[in-house]
Amino acid sequence: MQRLHIARIAAAGATAAAAVLATIFGCATGPTDDELNAKAAAVLRASFKEQGQAKLDRLTQDDTQKTCSQYSGSAVPKDAAERIEKANLASIKWPADGKYLGDWASGERIAQEGRGMQYSDDPKGAVGANCYACHRLSPQELSFGTIGPSLYQFGKLRGYTDEVRKYAYGKIYNAEAYSACTNMPRFGHSGILSEQQIRDVVALLMDPASPVNK
């Protein structure tokens, strides 16, 4: 029992620790970390059924998802982080007209909207970014989450420059380009928000008239 308890603690720790354990004990402890990852992915695939707009292809990981799953709960190695950031930065589609700022009021609605892409959602219905689930933005909204940093006074603190506007656009479009294995979805890259919706959220952060900057 005691021995198993120790094994459990190791398994419950970081994935890296589990990998170390597997290395030390070799075949004696069962599958290697890679084998375990492959088996987990296969079991997952067999354990879901498509429903509404959510098809089984959502379980097919791209390199970013796969690598970030592997290092979840531990630090991402520098080379992997650089690879992820480079690939995701290259995927960003910037607005053709170079305009990053939309309508902050529309951005506020998008930030409040939690629906979109769930199998229970109407595929033709509203799709939001649910920013408040994780971030503080407008000070009037007290019901905000803390998974991400506070974005209150985002533009005011950083300056209303074209450079910051572009950064905000890129970060919303594909957060993995700036911070590998961030918790934040890739709203543009994954087709969650349109170009105009991203501009509107940028305006919520960067328009001096936005409540975020009051």
Binding site: G114, R115, N130, A133, S143
Partner: protein, 157 residues
């Protein structure tokens, strides 16, 4: 619906509670009321209408009515715990009204002699609103109010 809400707001905000209750009534007394249901009062679309449905003559704000185990904020409006106690002698009935609900009157509890004038239940609230505890005691009417804020959170579920 919107229209009605505005009307309720106006009634609630524009008049004092006391004025609202003046000429407002109470349920018709009747001892064989076991199966009676005050349709007029329950289906009334606003607080003052609901109060008129009771047919009471007048009422007064009272410090002898207390809300117990009743939170200031409800995490979910679908279930809001309400506890009301009355220390007014000869309390005969306690009613719960939620000002901004589509139908303001939530419940009437008739308290026979020997039953303590203290009840606990749970109501639904459509939005942040004043909740009124209306007490009938010795043929007179008393009221207390408490604002309960309704929040929603998480992923919207």
């Amino acid at each position: 619906m919107q229209n009605m809400r505005r009307k309720v707001l106006k009634a609630g905000g524009g008049m004092t509670l006391y004025a609202l209750l003046i000429a407002a009534g109470w349920l018709k007394p009747g001892d064989a009321a076991a199966q009676a249901w005050n349709k007029g009062a329950f289906e009334a679309k606003s607080l003052d209408e609901a109060l008129k449905g009771f047919g009471a003559a007048s009422s007064a704000q009272s410090k002898d009515i207390a809300f117990v185990s009743t939170p200031d904020i409800a995490e979910n409006g679908a279930v809001v715990p309400i506890g009301i106690t009355s220390s007014i002698p000869r309390t005969e009935a306690i009613a719960i009204l939620v000002e901004k609900n589509p139908n303001a009157l939530a419940a009437i509890f008739e308290i026979p002699p020997g039953t303590e004038p203290a009840i606990g239940t749970r109501v639904k609230m459509a939005q942040t609103s004043n909740v009124y505890a209306l007490v009938k005691a010795d043929g007179r009417y008393y009221v207390a109010a408490k604002e309960i804020k309704v929040t929603l959170g998480g992923c919207g579920g």
